[in-house]
């Protein structure tokens, strides 16, 4: 068994696609209409086009808001992405207006930061030991 897909709920799929591609640098993999207005919308890392897909899932279910509000209030990220240089990414994204709730923090071998993806989630970026 292996993980091939994971997901984050997003308030607005079109806005999410824009943020996840133009700001974060992922590329669109699948975009299939589902129902009246929802899409099966996934992105992948340009480094691994055949790798794990991230589903930008509609946040329409009534439970999503309370779930995300509670976690966001406490600053808890809902996904973690790996980057080569957290500090470099932090500066690049901050200059693009991205809001960070945790600035780059060295925690032993791992450096992390947490930002708001503008679609309702906090996301952690991490530079892991090579």
């Amino acid at each position: 068994m292996k993980i091939h897909l994971t997901s984050v709920f997003v308030d607005d799929q079109a806005k999410a696609l824009q943020f996840y591609t133009e700001v974060l640098g992922f590329v669109k993999k699948h975009d299939v209409p589902v129902g009246e207005k929802d899409r099966w919308l996934t992105v992948v890392s340009p480094d691994e086009p055949g790798g794990i897909e991230l589903l930008l899932e509609p946040a329409g279910h009534p439970a999503v808001k309370s779930y995300r509000d509670a976690l966001t209030e406490d600053g808890i990220p809902l996904a973690q992405f790996a980057v080569d240089d957290v500090r470099g990414e932090y500066e690049r994204m901050r200059d693009l207006g991205v809001r960070f709730t945790q600035e780059p923090l060295d925690m032993g071998p791992v450096t992390t930061a947490v930002f708001d993806d503008t679609c309702g989630n906090l996301i952690q970026i991490a530079t892991l030991p090579q």
């Binding site: 509000d69 966001t72 209030e73 406490d74 600053g75 808890i76 990220p77 709730t101 945790q102 600035e103 923090l105 925690m107 032993g108 791992v110 992390t112 947490v114």
Partner: protein
């Protein structure tokens, strides 16, 4: 000009404030939280928990950290601030002046707190 705390009620208030302060400082985990907020003020609960576990190898639950923060907040050492959807914790060192003023720079005009 300095206002002196006089009367039984004010004395009781000063004692209660001091009790909260010293109780808050009596716990090593709470002192570590203050250390980390000294490093960077304005942290989410998640960041405080991450610092305690990753930097200090303190394996305590999020609920326990929340309770420690509540004690620190009752003593006035930590203040919470809501900003949009997030809640941040700031350090407030003002209550520590009570310690300095009581023993290091006491007001000779009269005691602010009587010992039982």
């Amino acid at each position: 000009m300095r206002v002196r705390l006089i009367g039984k009620y004010m004395l009781a208030y000063a004692v209660a404030v001091a009790d909260d302060l010293f109780k808050a400082l009596a716990d090593p985990t709470r002192r570590t939280i203050l250390d980390e907020l000294t490093d960077t003020s304005g942290q989410t609960l998640f960041e405080i928990c991450a610092r305690l576990s990753m930097k200090h190898q303190l394996g305590i639950s999020r609920q326990a950290v929340s309770q420690h923060l509540a004690v620190l907040e009752a003593a006035g050492l930590v203040e919470t601030r809501r900003e949009g959807r997030y809640k941040f914790h700031d350090l407030n060192t003002a209550p520590l002046r009570q310690i300095a003023e009581r023993w290091l720079a006491p007001d000779r005009s009269g005691p602010e707190e009587s010992s039982p």
